[in-house]
Amino acid sequence: MTELTLRPPRNLADPRTVAWWTVQAFLLAVPLAAAVLAAYWFLTPRPAVLGGVAVAVALACLLSAATVPRAYYRVQRWEITDEAVYVRSGWITHTWRVAPMSRVQTVDTARGPVQRMFGLADVTVTTASAAGAITIEGLDHELAAELAARLTAVTQATKGDAT
């Protein structure tokens, strides 16, 4: 007996994405951990139990910053065929998105400041639906530009307003 399922999209993000996400996670986690420890040291009478909790929270912050990007990298996949854009994302809740090329309205690329240092870019594809855009994160920026150009060419060949 077999059962129908969605197969994963073919492509992973660029491997540099792990490093980029990790750097971004640490940019958030390090100050957070420091704030927790500082609050314990300066604002409390430093009971030992609370100290343990504070250290544990700080370690959890740093540990998740080190591991979560790796896990995310593995679940986040994308694929673009001549007919459709297909993306999977999410760790706790899996989300698959499919948009047919004939209904794509706009294609954007975006690069954040940290992202730029790694030579990466995001491609965002919007349809006429209010249900949100499809974003492919962490592509090599040249690949992203090329994809965007091709997607734009395809969608411009589409008449009407794709609703």
Partner: protein, 643 residues
């Protein structure tokens, strides 16, 4: 540029109606009157002579009205609009000048509204909607106000068979013969058809044909079909809403606000204090009296709101448009193009459902959102009506919406060399079946049921050819599907809802327990709440599960969900612009997924909640052939999920 176009581009700008200052002045009385009242109280308190008090109040009124009149004059002087061959342009703004210009082929709805004052002056406000989601804001052009007759003419010109607004398909074959629209002979322009949903069949597919007729004539020659008209008996459904229970409190709050504005503090008078003390002293008498009073106020409010919102209600079908007219005092008319319709939703909120009623909303592209003070959704097609009537209207509207043809040249014709980098092994199959649906061609038996429209997917089985693995059942074109016959969802979905209900009650009880433990504030009576909430929650969970259902029929994706707010949606599969499929941790364990069809219309996405994985994917792949198949796979069946 043609001569005619040249002529139109040179067309003079027209002004708004010259009675606008009168209207703004009259409307300003609603501000002036309480202001005068407040001034009177203030001056009376200051122990001034009576003449001075009267003079002061009159002065305030005169000032407000004069300012409003001056503003009206300024708006009248600065606002100009014109309708050219292909655009509607507006220049407006007293302080900040703005120039808006919208292409006529982007006009999707026209909203004509006249409140009591404007009606008396023969004016109407026209809102022209082009609503686009992509820009994040609803672009809308408002003409406030023009003569009522002019508004009607503009509405017809913009939406009813105007040459410029039609898609450029001059050879589309259907000249704009009025005979097509029903059975109206020359002397027979308008007729109702109570209880004959099936007759709608002929109308539906007129919208996509290119009308070459000039705007000036088209409107008058086309017949109007009344799909539904108000029956005052429907007012019995008006009280079946939550407003009856909270209406009293809302009214009391509004009253207090008004009294605050004019400076009366009702709650510090001696009488109020005495009344409060009596209330507290006799709770067994007072509580029922207050509850009954609140219920009466709520009831009166609900009935009044129904009468005002839905008096003179008519749902009309014109050649290319659907029109909702309603309003006892403030009249409203919303006209939308049938080619922008993507489906309908039948809403049955719990109370209304228990009373056997339902409401119909339209799922259309480019409808604006309801504004704060509006009592009804813009998409409302009917008041609360008997269930059978709701489904009759809904079926009619489904037939009125032609299958939208997906835009553009078929992308699949792209040469195979157009592979994308990074997709080393992408599925490109030359000559794959197109996704596009040809417009339905009604057979003689078409149009009598929801599913009566022959399925336009064609032999969907052909789509299986290129992947070799996906079996797509061709939908039986003549299958008569009633709205109620939806496929149920797996039992696991019921378990999920039951657990959610138990969980919610447990959280409530735990919160109360913690509060009691920390503060001791919880009176023993309050523990009845979680005890009563448990059976209620379980009943709602069971009802919510019974409500779940889906089906693909007649080119529409039907999905139903909800208990407190049960809604059945029929979404035109041609209006689906993508899929979003979700699976949470809990759903993973139960073998369920939520399949959402994304669309440009209505809510943006319509969900098939908690459907079995294989069933849901099969449904999605059949609804839009060719889109999902390349991404589907068959895997060995896992161990039977727990149900």
């Amino acid at each position: 540029m043609t001569a005619r176009q040249q002529h139109q581009d040179d067309m003079a700008w027209s002004a708004l109606h010259r009675r606008i200052p009168l209207a703004t002045a009259a409307l300003s009385l609603t501000v002036a009157a309480p202001a005068a009242f407040g001034v009177t109280r203030l001056l009376t308190g200051a122990d001034l002579p009576r003449e001075l008090v009267i003079a002061g109040a009159a002065g305030v009124v005169a000032l407000v009205v004069a300012a409003a009149y001056a503003y009206g004059v300024a708006r009248l002087r600065t606002t100009r609009f014109r309708l050219t061959h292909d655009r509607l342009e507006l220049r407006a703004g007293v302080l900040v000048r703005q120039h808006r210009s919208i292409p006529r082929d982007r006009v999707r709805s026209v909203d004509v509204k006249a409140d009591v004052v404007r009606r008396a002056l023969g004016l109407a406000v026209v809102k022209i909607g082009t609503g686009e989601h992509t820009t994040g804001e609803h672009t809308e052009l408002t003409l406030n106000a023009i003569a009522a007759a002019e508004a009607e003419a503009l509405r017809r010109t913009l939406l009813t068979g105007a040459g410029a607004a039609a898609p450029a398909s001059p050879s589309a074959g259907h000249p704009g013969h009025p005979e097509r629209f029903g059975h109206a002979g020359p002397g027979h322009r308008e007729h109702t058809e109570p209880g004959h949903p099936g007759h709608a069949g002929h109308i539906g597919h007129a919208g996509h044909s290119g009308h070459s007729r000039h705007a000036g004539h088209a409107g008058h020659e086309e017949s109007v079909r009344v799909v539904a008209a108000l029956r005052w008996g429907w007012i019995r459904y008006a009280p079946l809403s939550i407003w009856v229970f909270v209406g009293g409190a809302v009214a009391a709050g509004a009253l207090k606000k008004v009294l605050d504005v004019v400076g009366i503090d009702l709650f510090s008078t001696a009488a109020a204090t005495a009344a409060w003390e009596w209330l507290v002293g006799n709770p067994w008498v007072a509580v029922p009296i207050v509850a009954a009073g609140s219920l009466l106020v709520g009831l009166a409010g609900a009935l009044g709101l129904f009468a005002e919102s839905w008096g003179n209600y008519r749902l009309e079908q014109e050649a290319r448009t659907l029109r909702v007219r309603r309003g006892l005092l403030t009249t409203r008319s919303l006209t939308m193009e049938t080619r922008r319709l993507r489906g309908v939703a039948v809403a049955e909120p719990l109370l209304l459902r228990l009373g056997g009623g339902a409401k119909v909303r339209v799922v259309a592209v480019g409808l604006r959102k309801a504004e704060g003070q509006e009592s009804e959704e813009v998409s409302a097609l009917t008041p609360p009506v008997p269930r059978a009537e709701a489904f009759r209207v809904a079926s009619h509207v489904l037939h009125a919406s032609p299958a939208p043809t997906p835009p553009g040249p078929a992308v699949q014709d792209a040469p195979a060399t157009r592979g994308f980098p990074g997709t080393p092994d992408h599925h490109t199959v030359a000559g794959r079946p197109t996704v596009s649906r040809t417009p339905n061609t009604h057979g003689p038996d078409g149009g009598h049921t929801l599913a009566g429209a022959p399925d336009a997917h064609g032999p969907a089985g052909a789509a299986g050819g290129h992947t070799g693995s996906i079996v797509t059942d061709p939908v039986d074109a003549r299958a008569a599907v009633a709205w109620g016959e939806l496929e149920p969802h797996p039992k696991a979905a019921r378990g999920r809802r039951t657990r959610q209900a138990i969980g919610a009650v447990a959280v409530l009880a735990a919160a109360m327990g913690v509060t009691e433990w920390l503060t001791g504030w919880i009176p023993p009576v309050a523990w009845a709440l979680p005890v009563l909430a448990l059976p209620a929650g379980l009943a709602l969970a069971a009802d919510a599960y019974r409500g779940l259902g889906h089906r693909l029929a007649g080119g529409h994706l039907l999905t139903r969900a909800g208990s407190a707010g049960r809604t059945t949606v029929a979404l035109d599969t041609g209006g689906i612009v993508g899929w979003r499929i979700r699976q949470s941790v809990f759903q993973r364990r139960l073998g369920l997924i939520t399949v959402s069809a994304t669309t440009a219309a209505g809510d943006g996405h319509y969900d098939v909640l908690d459907v079995g994985v294989a069933k849901g994917l099969d449904l999605a792949s059949r609804a839009v052939p060719g889109l999902l198949e390349p991404f589907l796979a068959r895997v060995p069946r896992p161990a039977r999920p727990r149900t």
